[in-house]
Amino acid sequence: MKRVLLIDDEVDFTELAQVALERSGEFEMKTLNDARDAIDVARDFQPDLIVSDIVMPNKDGAELVRELKQDPNLKSIPVIVMSALLNQNAVAYKEIGELDVAEILEKPIKLDQLRERMRAALA
């Protein structure tokens, strides 16, 4: 089972996604609602994949990815970022595009597509 750390400021979303993604038995999910704790949790949890929202109040996804990529122990973990506001936001898209991420996804996303992208990032 692959270990996945999911970060999104919406509690409802992380709860729902955890249940939905764990059902197939492929993923062991850990969820976080504040990106400020993500680095510590990642060091402790040692995930195989990190899935993070971009627009979050205390620390945004772009900042988190930059920190992850600077950490020698975490930089090899593939990261999927997703946001409700990407395709329309060229600046944010470009900023994220310059980061080393496995996938950029736009919310809402279908469950099977999300799973597929996660599998691809883990492969």
Partner: protein, 427 residues
């Protein structure tokens, strides 16, 4: 100072605001009256040169005025001429030389008419019986001055009105820009707040669908409807953000033909699925245009999909490009959407034709309005063409949509060609 020497052009003023050389058109059929007037006018205490041309008929005077429109400084006019009587005489002269001051020479019997004509635009009137050199000179001077001031005022007023109009237009553009700015901010905020809950509903629906009870067919049906609702809400939000965020372009020189071919490729699947014939007429070696590739591709795909959707039973999809010089009537048509193209501009015209059912004539004026759609509920967001028009306007081009006489619709985009031709740029 010698006023006669320094100012010989009519209308050029000396220190006391009178032309140095005074050119008078005297229109008077009574020989005695004419002589008397001439005599008095020449009796100048200063050394002003007075040229008098006398005509006894209206037609003769009008001929003189049209032969040398700028020759005279003032007209002295008797209203009763062999070929014209009363106010008509004044109106004819005024019409022939609207900028010339006219002084009516009036007998005692028509003084009332003379005052009436002053209200109609004559500068002054003189009673023939009471003429004397000093009053004549004063009347002429005041007439010229008044006429000059009123001309100046008219011109200044026209300038003011024009500037005012420009200001109003600019103010409207500013308000519009500000409005778009706040709609943009609002839309982006709303999109984020709505798409996140949509993401949850989406995952929830998918989760339930995967584990749906096969014995209850309604469950699958309900979840399917919910799924459609998510897609629809998402499309509307995307359209709204698209519409309000399309403010800036990433312009590069581009080839419209390549863009057209590429966009056709992207909708090829739909074209094949609906057995649609493609009638392509592409003019080779078109000049390049400054375009935002991604946004123009969005425009073309949107228009092509509209055309395809208008022909569910198949038909012919026409796409053509031509380079030409913009003619005035086309500009007028374009001006309905935006006034950026000028007659004589080198332009590229791109047309997309379908052989579908066309657009009801009472709806065609609303076709670019936000949230207007002729598609079935749930099929269109009503924002597609609004965004398309917005993008074309940002490119300073124009777009029009009309029903073709042979049936179906024609969408025409006109974009200004860039300065260099394609060959010139590759050299």
């Amino acid at each position: 100072m010698d006023p006669a020497g320094s100012a010989t052009t009519p209308g050029a003023n000396t220190r006391d605001d009178l032309p140095g050389e005074l050119n008078i058109l005297l229109i008077e059929d009574n020989v005695a009256d004419a002589r008397l007037a001439e005599h008095m006018l020449r009796e100048e205490p200063d050394r002003m040169v007075v040229n008098i041309q006398t005509h006894a008929t209206l037609s003769g005077a009008i001929e003189a005025l049209s032969a040398e429109p700028n020759r005279f400084d003032v007209v002295l006019l008797d209203l009763s001429l062999p070929d014209s009587m009363g106010p008509e005489t004044f109106q004819q002269i005024h019409l022939a030389a609207p900028k010339l001051p006219i002084i009516i020479l009036s007998g005692l019997t028509d003084e009332e008419m003379a005052t009436h004509l002053v209200s109609m635009g004559a500068q002054d009137y003189m009673l023939k019986d009471g003429m004397e050199p000093a009053t004549m000179r004063r009347s002429i001077r005041y007439a010229i001055e008044r006429k000059a001031s009123s001309e100046k005022l008219t011109k200044l007023n026209a300038d003011l009105e024009r500037k005012n109009e420009e200001l109003r237009t600019m103010q409207l553009q500013l308000i519009q820009a500000e409005k778009m700015e706040s709609i943009g901010r609002l839309a982006a905020g709303v999109a984020h707040e709505v798409k996140n809950p949509l993401a949850m509903i989406q995952l929830g629906v998918d989760y339930l669908m995967e584990g749906v009870d096969v014995d209850d067919p309604n469950l699958a049906k309900i979840l399917g409807r919910m799924q459609n609702a998510v897609v629809r809400a998402d499309a509307i939000i995307c359209g709204l953000v698209d519409f309000s965020s399309a403010r800036q372009l990433d312009l590069e020189s581009g080839d419209i033909n390549a863009l057209a071919e590429n966009s056709l490729l992207l909708v090829k699947h739909e074209i094949t699925k609906k057995s649609i014939q493609v009638d392509k007429s592409i003019e080779a070696n078109l000049p390049l245009v400054k375009i935002d590739h991604a946004k123009m591709e969005q425009v073309l795909i949107n228009l092509l999909m509209n055309a395809i959707q208008a022909m569910p039973e198949g038909g012919t999809l026409g796409i053509s490009t031509i380079g030409k010089t913009l003619e005035s009537h086309e500009r007028d048509r374009g001006a309905r959407t935006v006034d950026q193209l000028r007659t004589g501009d080198p332009v590229i015209v791109l047309r997309i034709d379908d052989s579908g059912c066309g657009i009801p004539s009472d709806k065609i004026d609303q076709i670019f309005d936000p949230f207007f759609t002729t598609k079935e509920t749930g099929q269109g967001t009503g924002l597609g063409l609004t965004v398309v028009k917005k993008i074309i306007e940002l490119h300073k081009g124009s777009i029009s949509l009309e029903n073709r006489p042979e049936g179906g619709c024609r969408t025409e985009i006109i974009l200004k060609a860039a300065q260099q031709s394609q060959e010139a740029e590759t050299v």
